[in-house]
């Protein structure tokens, strides 16, 4: 398995086309290798733009700054999990997991099918391999998306609120499963949920101000996944205060 590598982001400014005021300014973030970094912020503060910039998906925006890695290119090394599961409804669950092969023009070998089935087994959906996505629940669909991400074996995983549309219990289970299966990857998780960030993040950045920049949250001594105890409640309060602080 390819191990995740560290990424350093320095955004001097990010402006959307036809907007004079930058969305981000003087933002510095470090994504340590093989760790989960959570990024929180109010809607429209530019957190998804950072993720899209890393994924090479940022359009209609002017980015000034630099992204550095330890020598490895980002292109071809990134897997992307969005809020929607992005399962293709015309393909079976197994074919969805193996979609990268089709899109890269490679034939689907038996080895790869076996590997995909193994991953589906890990996410508890092997019995549904031949079903179509519309027959699955929201949580099951996100588990298929997770298996698809894992099969790509890419060292960097970018997650844009992938659990936000799920109910509390399903979200909790899927967070644990993702954390377990994405060991060894460098993960950037964009989320609105302070509890999710506290539970999963090795480090947490909170975006504040306008134009926004990112502040690293102090006090994360323990390693994730964290239990929801008094300390994590205090951290969540701190995050909520920072997120709402702009209007205090």
């Amino acid at each position: 398995m390819r191990q995740g590598f560290a990424i350093s982001i320095q955004a001097d400014a990010l402006r959307y086309t036809k907007q004079a005021q930058p969305v981000l300014q003087d933002l510095v973030m470090q994504l340590p290798a093989q760790q989960w970094t959570c990024l929180l912020g109010r809607s429209g503060c530019g957190k998804t733009s950072i993720l899209r910039k890393l994924a090479g998906l940022l359009e209609n925006a002017q980015w000034q700054g630099k992204i550095e890695t330890d020598g490895q290119p980002l292109s071809g090394n990134i897997a992307y999990m969005a809020q929607q599961d992005l399962l293709l409804p015309w393909l079976s669950v197994l074919d969805n997991v193996c979609i990268a092969e089709r899109l890269q023009g490679r034939s689907l070998t038996q080895d790869l099918r076996d590997k995909a089935l193994l991953l589906l087994d890990k996410v508890g959906l092997k019995a549904h391999a031949d079903n179509y996505p519309h027959t699955l629940s929201g949580g099951m669909r996100q588990r298929v998306a997770l298996a698809r991400t894992l099969l790509q074996e890419r060292p960097i995983v970018l997650m844009d609120e992938p659990f936000s549309a799920l109910d509390a219990v399903t979200r909790h289970k899927l967070q644990s499963l993702s954390f377990e299966l994405l060991q060894g990857k460098t993960v950037l998780l964009v989320t609105h949920d302070p509890q999710e960030a506290v539970r999963l993040g090795h480090q947490i950045y909170v975006m504040e101000g306008s134009p926004a920049n990112a502040h690293l949250l102090a006090g994360l001594a323990s390693t994730p996944p964290r239990q929801l105890d008094e300390h994590s409640a205090a951290l969540q309060n701190d995050i909520l205060h920072r997120l709402g602080g702009e209007h205090v």
């Binding site: 994924a55 929607q84 015309w90 890269q104």
Partner: protein, 246 residues
């Protein structure tokens, strides 16, 4: 109520109203023949009716295949080459402003009185709804799918083949549903302008000879054919696109 039962009930009501109108207003058979008289024609002249139906059916089906192919081709052309869209779309819209009746004599002149001119009529009448529906479907691919393809380093053609085209199928299906209903209009208009066979031709001949029951029989077959074609395509689309009919 099942679809079949609903269809049978509606048919019986229409037949009842039809027969009722004849009885109430004492309409002569050369104005409105009785349903039974039309049914008798359907039975007694079935071989002749079938030969004309077969001609029209061929015109409609070949026209459909041609029109859908052209529609799909234009939609892809406009998606892939932006300048083509800027030039082609106004021409396509202008082409729809010309009534098909006005084109029919020209097509007879160019393509003769055989099946080709009717196939062309059917194709011309349907390619526009197919083009617009398919183009709308192709350019409305959910952006998340395209993002996924991009992060997986898919090239333009593989993105088109594996994502954009399948994602456009429901929209293409909507175009196809419209196409199967209007294609017979194109074929029959073509037959009215100039032909020696087909249900449109038969209706004109029957009208000229005051065989109104025969005209109604041809009209009945034409309606039945269009309805059968629509429901067959609808059934096929629902089976092929199960995620869309959910």
């Amino acid at each position: 109520m099942s679809n079949w039962l609903r269809g049978a009930t509606a048919s019986l009501v229409i037949l009842g109203l039809w027969q009722g109108a004849i009885l109430i207003w004492s309409l002569p058979s050369f104005i409105l023949p009785a349903p039974m008289a039309v049914f008798e024609v359907l039975i007694s002249r079935w071989p002749m009716l079938w030969s004309h139906t077969w001609v029209t059916a061929q015109e409609v089906l070949i026209g459909l295949a041609l029109g859908v192919s052209i529609g799909l081709y234009f939609a892809l052309l406009m998606l892939l080459f932006r300048p083509v869209k800027q030039w082609l779309l106004p021409i396509l819209i202008a082409s729809q402003a010309i009534p098909v009746f006005a084109i029919a004599p020209i097509l007879m002149l160019w393509l003769d009185y055989g099946i080709a001119s009717k196939v062309a009529m059917a194709a011309i009448i349907i390619f526009f709804p197919v083009t617009t529906c398919c183009f709308d479907g192709l350019r409305s691919t959910p952006s998340g799918y395209l993002d996924l393809a991009q992060t997986l380093n898919a090239n333009r053609w593989r993105t088109l083949w594996h994502i954009q085209l399948p994602a456009a199928l429901p929209a293409l299906g909507s175009g196809l549903r419209v196409a199967v209903v209007v294609a017979p209009i194109g074929a029959v208009v073509g037959e009215w302008v100039g032909s020696s066979a087909g249900l449109g031709y038969l209706m004109l001949q029957a009208n000229a000879r005051m065989r109104i029951d025969e005209m109604f029989a041809a009209l009945f077959i034409l309606s039945l054919f269009s309805v059968a074609l629509y429901f067959s395509v609808d059934w096929l689309l629902k089976r092929s696109l199960p995620w869309h009919s959910q």
